[in-house]
């Protein structure tokens, strides 16, 4: 018999209480897995969107908060000279109200650059040139604006034709209206301006850090972010992640108090037994370990249950029509590991105080009971 075996036997003495506690915290961990799986999935769909269009790095002005500030489109020339940069494209992204829709993301993309290559046209075609008065709609944008191929669409003061409908990996891109940079510059009167430069790197020849440094030294007003950074810094993703973390922490806190309550009940009814262990010469540290192991064992079981529940929930959500194809939840060893880690953390946290109280038991008093 080892200390751990002795600990596990303690959990079998009130099987119903043990099972209920495991289920309680397990459901909490399951919620954490589901919430974080969604949040991480959203972040990744942004990253994926950038990756899908072949963008490794994004240059923007360092100032500016929610919306990137515009800059001179000629800056791109300096970026193209930096070693390691394979291709670079100017983008102007605006949020406009179009017809009945109050906020639509409009992405003006430099004609003839790689950022057009990765739009998957599911209906119609791409514009014939950067000068054609034509747009491509993301699938969701087309639904939202109720347009199909060949329809006319009025954006600000200009009329365009819907040349094609594109299906995109990221939710955000699906809701975007695409046109040539030049067209967008004209209608929002930001001639010769862009607010992003997308960069595709040469294969691993120069590390991204060095490219970033070289660009910033040429363009001191700018910051360079990797595709991952950019989705991490995206306000929508950030808010969603923060909300989900907040909800998760509440779930974990509730779970911690639940387990602590169970542990208190468990050690309270064993005061005399613990007194016996102390009388038999057990060190306080061993008593402490016994109780903490017990709560950690409870939570480890809850962690396994929570991972199973959470993954099941994510799989079901991924199949639901409002989510399908738009947001792929993140289910990976990192999330599952994090969930187990959080579960064990809850076990440690909720076991320590009851365990500490046990070490304070006076054995001669406890044995009198």
């Amino acid at each position: 018999m080892t200390l751990l075996q002795l600990t596990l036997k303690n959990l079998t003495r009130r099987p119903i209480r043990t099972v209920l506690t495991v289920m309680g915290i397990g459901v909490g961990i399951g919620a954490v897995v589901a919430l974080l799986g969604l949040a991480w999935g959203l972040g990744e769909s942004w990253t994926d969107a950038l990756k899908a269009r072949g963008t490794d790095l994004v240059v923007r002005k360092a100032s500016g908060f929610l919306l990137a500030e515009p800059f001179d489109e000629e800056w791109i020339k300096q970026v193209r000279e930096v070693p390691g940069v394979a291709q670079a494209a100017n983008l102007l992204t605006e949020v406009l109200s179009i017809e009945e829709a109050p906020t639509v993301v409009v992405s003006g993309r430099e004609w003839g650059t790689f950022v057009w290559d990765h739009l998957t046209i599911v209906d119609g075609r791409l514009p014939r040139s950067g000068d054609e008065q034509a747009v491509v709609l993301g699938k969701l944008a087309a639904e939202q604006l109720q347009k199909k191929v060949g329809d006319k669409i009025t954006i600000e003061v200009a009329d365009f034709t819907v040349a094609g409908i594109a299906e995109c990996k990221a939710l955000v891109e699906n809701a975007t209206v695409f046109m040539s940079l030049k067209n967008l510059q004209n209608i929002v009167t930001k001639e010769k301006q862009a607010n992003f430069i997308n960069i595709r790197m040469k294969d691993n020849s120069v590390p991204p850090d060095e490219i970033s440094k070289a660009i910033v030294s040429k363009l001191p007003n700018c910051t360079v972010e990797t595709a991952e950074d950019l989705s991490d810094n995206n306000e929508a993703v950030k808010t969603f992640k923060a909300m989900n973390w907040g909800t998760s922490l509440i779930a974990l806190l509730v779970g911690t108090f639940g387990v602590m309550n169970t542990m208190f009940m468990s050690v309270f009814e064993r005061t005399r037994e613990i007194g016996v262990l102390i009388a038999l010469g057990w060190k306080r540290s061993r008593i402490l370990r016994m109780i903490v192991y017990e709560s950690m064992a409870l939570c480890a079981a809850a962690g396994v249950l929570g991972v199973v529940l959470g993954v099941a929930l994510l799989k079901i959500m991924a199949r639901m029509p409002i989510m399908e194809g738009k947001l792929e939840p993140h289910i990976g060893p990192d999330l599952l590991g994090l969930a187990m880690g959080l579960a064990l953390g809850v076990g440690l946290l909720s076991g320590l105080y009851p365990a500490f109280r046990c070490t304070q038991i006076n054995p001669s008093l406890a044995l009198r009971q």
Partner: protein, 245 residues
């Protein structure tokens, strides 16, 4: 260092195993004077019974002897070392003291074999050695055939045998037993006393045993009678007066 008062009737044979000098212990802010100046010594290999009416301070004294509780005044020495101010009383108990309780106090979730191993965790023994030794001890107390039984499946007498095996787990210098037969019928009581006497007689185990039962006390070499927190008499068995007969 004050010399201990010679034990009545016992040959003075060097350093006592346990030496109690003017020990006081009170409870409830001095309202209950459980021990009021107790002094005596126990030598290696002795079997001492402590008797006295309920509330006379027997259990309080035993707890102090086993470093389970702290005296308010006085000194208790074990092999010459003052145990009233130990830095690590648990370690002291694990190494030197074997406790046997009236209510057995076995852990209900553990088998006989596992219960006996509980104190061995503090002795730094390997898992396999713990198991082997627990088995040997259970065989010594006549429980070799009940190794995997939970306490709930054992009779009172059998439980106390397991508890005695457990008290021997770390080869203690002394066994302290508080009414070990108090929860047993006369037949089981007899058998437990035979077991304890055997340990004393054959293995030279030093025994301090608290009891209400004169029958039980009669087995001891020496009987200390407690009254109102003090020693009323301390006599060798041979000298026991008629009043106990």
């Amino acid at each position: 260092m004050t010399q201990p008062a010679p034990t009545p009737g016992a040959p003075a044979e060097g350093l006592p195993l346990l030496e109690v000098v003017d020990v006081h212990r009170d409870f409830d802010d001095g309202h209950v004077l459980a021990l009021r100046g107790v002094s005596f010594a126990v030598h290696e290999g002795e079997f001492v019974a402590i008797i006295g009416s309920s509330g006379s301070g027997k259990s309080t004294l035993l707890a102090l002897l086993g470093a389970l509780d702290e005296a308010d005044k006085g000194v208790i020495r074990f092999r010459g070392e003052d145990i009233t101010k130990l830095r690590d009383p648990a370690g002291f108990r694990a190494r030197n003291i074997g406790f046997v309780f009236q209510a057995f106090h076995l852990l209900p979730t553990l088998t006989a074999l596992e219960n006996v191993q509980v104190p061995m965790f503090e002795a730094g023994m390997a898992k396999r050695d713990r198991q082997r030794k627990a088995r040997e001890l259970l065989e010594i107390v006549g429980m070799g055939h009940r190794l995997d039984h939970l306490p709930a499946k054992l009779s009172g007498g059998e439980r106390q045998r397991v508890a005695i095996a457990r008290s021997l787990a770390n080869d203690p210098g002394i066994l302290l037993a508080d009414e070990p037969t108090g929860n047993l019928d006369s037949k089981n009581s007899h058998q437990i006393m035979e077991l304890l006497e055997g340990l004393h007689r054959d293995k030279g185990m030093t025994l301090v045993l608290v009891t209400h039962d004169m029958e039980v006390a009669r087995a001891a070499d020496r009987v200390i009678t407690m009254k109102d927190g003090q020693i009323a008499s301390d006599e060798r068995a041979a000298n026991l007066t008629e009043e106990y007969a």
